[in-house]
Symmetry: C2
Subunit: 183 residues, 2 copies
């Protein structure tokens, strides 16, 4: 292959994976995580409605919200191969409001506007506990919750595979069961 062909190959490479950028999570100079702009093109893992955890007061089920979980495509493919999450894995939890009546829908719930966007990141060099948790502000930035936050504690204690709630992601639960990586 000549030099021009190599240059063309290099130029094409980024276009192949627009929704699957190989970069690590991006941080500001102050160490805040930047919200990924393209997470709606990542791999969807599952959604829930009004999910309520642990001993805390039940969520107000009169106004439940949907939670959509997305993971970076490269991390997803690694999980399919190994049942484990590589370093730099990133999850986005998108919380959306729910409506009941609208258009032809007259029962049950469908999704409307975004209420909040959160993230979980595995970054072994940056975080002593390996995983950190974030809730983005209106500017799309977030500082990690402290290592003793409710998020860190609950994920560390209750998650099925390496701090992630694979027990709620049916397609990955099947993979982890087969690979023997469930806690």
């Amino acid at each position: 292959m000549n030099r021009n062909a190599i240059l063309i190959l290099l130029a094409l490479a980024p276009a192949c994976g627009a929704a699957d950028s190989p970069q690590a999570p991006q941080y500001t100079a102050e160490g805040q995580l930047l919200a990924p702009k393209d997470y709606r093109e990542w791999i969807f893992l599952s959604s829930g409605l009004g999910m309520t955890y642990g001993p805390a007061a039940p969520a107000d089920q009169s106004q439940p919200r949907f939670d959509n979980v997305f993971v970076k495509p490269a991390s997803y493919r690694a999980f399919l191969d190994t049942g484990r999450w590589p370093d730099k894995t990133m999850f986005v939890l998108e919380i959306r409001n729910a409506a009941e009546k609208g258009s032809i829908n007259n029962g049950g719930h469908y999704q409307t506007g975004v209420s909040r966007v959160e993230a979980a990141v595995k970054d072994e060099t940056r975080f002593p506990q390996k995983w950190a948790y974030f809730s983005f502000n209106a500017e799309g930035k977030a500082s990690a919750f402290p290592a003793n936050s409710v998020c860190n504690t609950c994920h560390g204690k209750n998650a099925a595979v390496d701090n992630t709630f694979v027990q709620f992601y049916p397609t990955l639960l099947e993979v982890a069961t087969r690979k023997g990586t469930l806690k």
Copy 2:
């Protein structure tokens, strides 16, 4: 560029778009649609729980199901550009059972096993009405519902953009509004 380099480029092309194969919908020799194996890697549009349409008896809300909607990445990108669906667009509707109690969840609903997989296809040369609707059998095959089916009639009458319920896909509703393609 020499011939070898071209061959390498051609060989690389499929690997770039594993989750975004450019092929048209695939049919058996008898005209049955084949269920796409990789739809969980397509673009997620939204999900609902227990959604109930039209004058039919309300769904049994004591056992509501989730519906997850996915669309082919190439069709999604075309929609972002134009607010319209190109020919050969394909949607998958994955219907999953819902659970309430499990692991740390003690309120609300999360997704479990697949109940049914359905599809909508825009194929202008194959279907006089352009769009057709399918529910896959256990072998992953489906014949199109007749042109006067409830699916065809309701999508044709009530969908916000070209037979698709964009009113229930918040990210696309914003695009269609901006592009002026809402009915």
